[in-house]
């Protein structure tokens, strides 16, 4: 059986910026596929092409066997989109929002209302259904958004950063709901900036950077590629950081890195974290080196990117944050003038 989502050499340019530089993808029916990458990696661009919002400049893409360009009209009836680029009308109630989307999927009026009630119940929004969406919390809004995309029982669901900006509790709630959807045999393509999220939800993960897929596999396969866990030590006296690193040298699967200013030492320890932790404590105790903190970290998106690309994931955000900081700087400047 052909994959539910297939892409071959998919390309998209915005002016001189190459947003997608030839993406190949084959997502099996009934599986969850995670698109993992920083802002500006091209995740949203790919989702927008799969959901017919954007025309590709090269290559081709099919969803449920329908071409995203030629069969766009038929395809729209088979997919749902939620997350970053979809939205709810905050002046309408939750129920009205879902009903409207149902009607626009061409469900009959009665069917749209029945499905809206059903789906609000399922997403824990039944009681809030008669309230305007502007009174909803961020997590409720996001749930309503996902609920709306499911009203017509789409075969394939696209969730574009569904939990970005949510508090941990709301994130957990939404994860639970996404897991339920998976059990129904729906195909889901999920984009995220969080390794933990992809790890939790996706059967297979593609790491995207600068418009290309730089690694693909199951969460375990990717973690093996990255090199397992990282031991992070916080030295009491930053001046001793170098000494600590020296003491631990040769212990892990790689050389320790030192942030002398912060008094931090990081060392990749592979899959044998607990043993490495004990060993390091013993060694440092022998040398009478005092620690403020010691912890084992699972690899983060940063680690994925550092090991796969040699640059940190945040670099994708830098421009945005930089301009944000500049804005704040200007504000401060104005205040001083006044």
């Amino acid at each position: 059986m052909a994959g539910a989502i297939v892409a071959e050499g998919l390309r998209k340019n915005f002016g001189t910026v190459e947003a997608l530089r030839g993406i190949d993808l084959d997502v099996g029916s009934g599986t969850v596929f995670g698109f993992l990458g920083p802002n500006g990696a091209g995740k949203t661009t790919a989702v927008r092409i799969f959901t017919t919002l954007l025309l590709p400049d090269g290559g081709r893409a099919e969803v449920v066997g329908l071409d995203v360009v030629r069969d766009a009209e038929a395809l729209r009836a088979r997919i749902g989109l939620a997350g970053q680029s979809a939205a709810v009308d905050e002046n309408l109630t939750g129920l009205e929002n879902i009903e409207m989307v149902g009607r626009l999927y061409h469900l009959s009026s009665a069917e749209a209302r029945r499905r809206a009630g059903e789906i609000l119940e399922r997403f824990g929004l039944a009681e809030a259904g008669d309230r305007q969406a502007k009174t909803y919390s961020g997590g409720m809004r996001r749930r309503l958004d996902v609920a709306a995309s499911l009203v017509a029982r789409p075969d394939v669901l696209f969730l574009d950063e569904p939990t970005t900006g949510l508090d941990p509790r709301s994130r957990m709630d939404l994860w639970a709901m996404i897991r339920e959807l998976v059990q129904e045999g729906r195909t889901i393509l999920l984009t995220t900036q969080y390794l933990e999220e992809a790890d939790n939800l996706a059967d297979r993960i593609a790491v995207v950077d600068l418009g290309t897929i730089i690694a693909e596999g199951t969460a375990d396969e990717l973690k093996d590629q990255i090199g397992g866990e990282v031991l992070e030590l916080h030295v009491k006296d930053p001046a001793q950081a170098g000494q600590v690193a020296q003491t631990l040298s040769g212990m892990g699967v790689g050389e320790p890195s030192v942030d002398a200013e912060a008094g931090k030492v990081r060392i990749p320890v592979g899959s044998d974290g607990p043993a490495a932790l004990l060993d390091s404590v013993r060694r440092l105790d022998d040398m009478k080196l005092a620690l403020a903190d010691i912890a084992l970290h699972r690899p983060t998106l940063d680690d994925v990117f550092l090991s796969l690309t040699g640059h940190a994931a945040e670099e994708g955000h830098q421009e945005q944050e930089g301009s944000e900081r500049r804005k704040q700087g200007r504000k401060r400047g104005r205040r001083r003038d006044a």
Binding site: L54, A74, I79, S85, A86, M100, H106
Partner: protein, 283 residues
Amino acid sequence: MSTTITTPTGTRAGSRIRYGFADGMVVMRRNVLQISRIPTVLILELVQPIMFVLLFRFVFAGNIITPPGMTYVMYLMPGIFVQNAIFGSTTTAIGLAEDMKKGLVDRFRSLPMARSAVLVGRTSSDLAKNFILLMLVIPVGYLVGFRFTNGLVGAIGMVLLVLIVGFAFSWISATVGLAIKEVEGVQAAMFTGIFPIVFISSALVPVQGMVSWIQPIAKHNPVTIWANCARVLALGDVALPTDPGTKIPTTSLEGLLVLSTIWIVGLLIVFVPVSIRMYRKLT
């Protein structure tokens, strides 16, 4: 997977049109609900025409030479109604820009609904909104001395003309909104464009008092034709333009009606397909 979706497959024209209309009405219903949920917006929109009525009625009136047999308030009000309909059409662009910003247009574009529905729904709900505004501004006119003097049919004719003019401008507004996409930009563009169009016309003051080189522009401005037509429908023959420099058709009600219709149909023929095409090609 069970499915109850009945999307038109292929290009069956009949079902296409049926869904186009039905989808448009779903969107219109949502927009009307929105207006009813935030009535302050409507109230604020009402302030502007009332301010214009009061300013022109009590500040400008004594300084404006009106055609014989007509007081300025009688001359002014039909023009205000037309002006109000045109100004009111800016909400089409603003509403679209807001929907784009909030991501609602993305959601709509990912649904199997008709590509025209968002625009049909928006222009229709703005038509309904313009109707409500008109029904509120007419009594204000009555308070400051305006009266319909051409019978009920004439009055209804004027109301219809004003609403259709507003509807045609809504499609221009939709085109501008889709081109600019930003709420603030849209507001600026619409008002910079609309002010001269409305002011260089007979909507508020007679063309005869304008500088000579601007008069030909004003005379051929469709707003002049619509304002003159609205005036004759509201007031009767007393409002027929008598300017000898104007071509014959514009000095009779029939001529005014024909020219008004030609302009409205012309604008719709251009801007309906252009804006739908732009919506389709959004990225």
